[in-house]
Amino acid sequence: MTTDYAKPLPEMTADNSPFWEGCKRHQLLLQKCSGCGHVRYASLTCPRCWSMDHQWVPSSGRGRVYTWIVVHQRYSKAFEEDLPYNVAIVELDEGPRLLTSLVQIENEAIRPDLQVEVAWDDVTDEITLPKFRPVS
C-alpha cells in the first residue's frame, strides 16, 4: 500500500464505484438484477430483463481461466519492470467474466480452465485490484 504507485488506476464513476468500494473491503461484488434475479458483472442494464435496478451481491471469488496473454512489448513505462507479465480473462463460477491478472503462478504454467480464486492487491489507499491465483 503506497502512495507512489505509478500504474494506471481504474476511474471511479457513478456507474462502477460500488464495485471498487467492495474491492477496498476485499469483497468481489456482482450485480443481482432487481427485476429477474440474474447475476452479472457491473453493467448498466440487465442482459436478461433490461432492468437498470440491481443490488450488489458478493461473488464466490472462484472461477477458471478463460483466456490469457503475456505482454512482452513495452506499452507503458508503468509496467516496464513487470515485463513479461500476464493479463487474463477469468470466468467466475457465477458466470460473469472479468479482466484481471494471475498472480502466484509462472506465466508458462497458465493453462485453459485453470481453477483460480481472488487474491486482493491493495495498490493504493483507495484502490484494491482483484487479481486471481491458482486454487491450492
Binding site: 503475456v70 506499452y75 493479463v87
Partner: protein, 376 residues
C-alpha cells in the same frame, strides 16, 4: 429495395505507403481523394458527398468537414463515421444508401494518416479501466482472441505464421508495399513475442499513407474513364461488446455481415476469385475465413497452412500485401486493391480472370465488421 449491382466504385487510389515524413493526415487524405476522383475521370464539382473515418493518430471533430474545406467542396453530405476498421466499408454503404435515396450523386470516401512519422495515437492507448492490469494496446486485445481460438480449436502459431508469409509473398510483387522482403516460417517463429501468443510478424504494420475511392450510380459509372466495379453485396454486423462481456470471442461480426453480403450478391464463397480480408493481426483472416464459410469454424488455421491464400494458391488473399505487409492503415487500401484486381491493373500480382472480389473490414478488438462483394 436491394442495393445489388446499382452502385459502382469508379475511382480508386492510394498515396505512397511506408515511412513518408512531412505529410499531415489531412494532406494524405486530400491527396488520395484527388487521385481517386481523377482516376474516375471526375472533377471536384462532380462530388457531392465527402465521407471519412477520422485518423487514429488524433481525434478531430468534424474531420470530414476539414477534408471538405481542403478539397474545396461544400458537400450535400459530409460525415465522419466511427466503426473503427469497418468504417471504410461502412462509408461505401453509406454512399450507396444516400445515392439510392436520391440525396447525392457521387461520394468520395477517403482516409489518410501518418502514425509512423507522426504520433502513434490510438495504437498504444490503454484499453479502458483494464489498463490497471496492463491491458494496453491493440495487440493485447487480439492476442486474447488468438489464445482463445487456440484453446477452442487447437490453432497454432505456425498456422498464424502462414498468413504472414502469404501476405508478404503477395507484397513482394507490389512496388508500393511498405514491406516487400519475403519471409519464411522460420522468420515468423523466431520473431519476438509482442504479446504472446502474437509475435512481431503477426502484427499490423504502422504506416503513413492515404487511400480513397469514389462511389456513384451504375448509370453514371458506365460513362466514366475506368471500367465500373459493381457492388454486388454489402453487409455489416457488430458483436460490439468488450471482450469480457462478449459471449463468444472466436466468432466475429463476419458471420452475419458475410451472410448479408452473400445473400444480397446471390453468390457463395465458392464464387469468389480474390479476397482482401482485414488482417491487422494474423488471427483475424483466419476467423474471417471461417465466419464467411470458406471453411468450417475452427478450421481456418488448417485452411491457410498450406499456402492456399498465397500467389500460387486457390484463394488469392490480400494480393497487395494487406495490413501486414502493404500498409498498416485501416482498410481503405483493401477496397482499392479489390478494384484494381477487378480492373486488371495489378501487373505482377494480377490474379487471372478475377471477376468477383470480396473485401472485409473490422475493427476495435473485433467489435465491428463489414463486408463487400465486388464484381467487374
Amino acid at each position: 429495395m436491394s442495393l445489388k449491382d446499382k452502385y459502382c466504385i469508379v475511382g480508386a487510389a492510394t498515396t505512397r505507403f511506408g515511412r513518408v515524413p512531412g505529410v499531415s493526415p489531412l494532406a494524405f487524405t486530400v491527396e488520395a481523394a484527388q487521385l481517386a476522383i481523377r482516376d474516375a475521370g471526375l472533377d471536384r464539382e462532380d462530388v457531392d458527398a465527402v465521407l471519412c473515418k477520422y485518423p487514429p493518430t488524433g481525434f478531430h471533430g468534424l474531420w470530414a468537414h476539414k477534408v471538405s474545406e481542403a478539397l474545396g467542396i461544400q458537400p450535400t453530405i459530409a460525415a465522419t463515421i466511427d466503426q473503427a476498421g469497418a468504417t471504410n466499408l461502412g462509408l461505401v454503404q453509406y454512399a450507396m444508401m444516400a445515392i439510392d435515396a436520391g440525396l447525392i450523386s457521387t461520394a468520395v470516401c477517403c482516409y489518410g494518416d501518418n502514425p509512423l512519422s507522426g504520433t502513434p495515437g490510438t495504437y498504444g492507448k490503454a484499453l479502458g479501466a483494464d489498463a490497471a492490469y496492463g491491458f494496453i494496446g491493440v495487440p493485447s486485445g487480439y492476442a486474447m482472441i488468438a489464445q482463445r481460438h487456440m484453446i477452442e480449436y487447437g490453432t497454432t502459431s505456425v498456422q498464424l505464421g502462414a498468413v504472414a508469409i502469404s501476405t508478404r509473398a503477395w507484397a513482394s510483387k507490389n512496388p508500393n508495399a511498405h514491406k516487400r522482403d519475403p519471409i519464411t516460417i522460420e522468420d515468423h517463429q523466431s520473431s519476438r513475442y509482442v504479446v504472446s501468443p502474437l509475435r512481431l510478424l503477426d502484427c499490423c504494420l504502422v504506416s503513413d499513407g492515404g487511400a480513397a475511392i469514389v462511389v456513384t450510380s451504375a448509370d453514371r459509372a458506365r460513362h466514366l474513364r475506368k471500367p465500373p466495379v459493381y457492388i454486388m453485396g454489402i453487409g455489416q454486423h457488430h458483436v460490439a461488446w468488450d471482450l469480457p462481456r462478449r459471449p463468444n470471442l472466436t466468432t466475429s461480426g463476419a458471420k452475419v455481415s458475410g451472410q448479408t453480403a452473400f445473400r444480397m450478391a446471390g453468390i457463395g464463397p465458392q464464387d469468389v476469385d480474390v479476397c482482401e480480408l482485414y488482417d491487422c493481426f494474423t488471427i483475424v483472416p483466419i476467423i474471417t475465413l471461417e465466419d464467411y464459410g470458406f471453411c468450417n469454424k475452427g478450421e481456418g488455421g488448417e485452411f491457410v497452412e498450406d499456402g492456399r491464400t498465397g500467389p500460387d494458391g486457390s484463394l488469392p488473399m490480400n494480393t497487395a500485401g494487406g495490413l501486414l505487409s502493404e500498409s498498416g492503415m485501416a482498410g481503405m487500401q483493401l477496397i482499392v486493391e479489390a478494384v484494381r484486381q477487378l480492373r486488371g491493373e495489378c501487373g505482377d500480382r494480377q490474379v487471372k480472370n478475377a471477376e468477383i472480389a470480396l473485401v472485409s473490414g473490422q475493427g476495435g478488438i473485433m467489435h465491428t465488421h463489414a463486408t463487400a462483394i465486388l464484381r467487374r
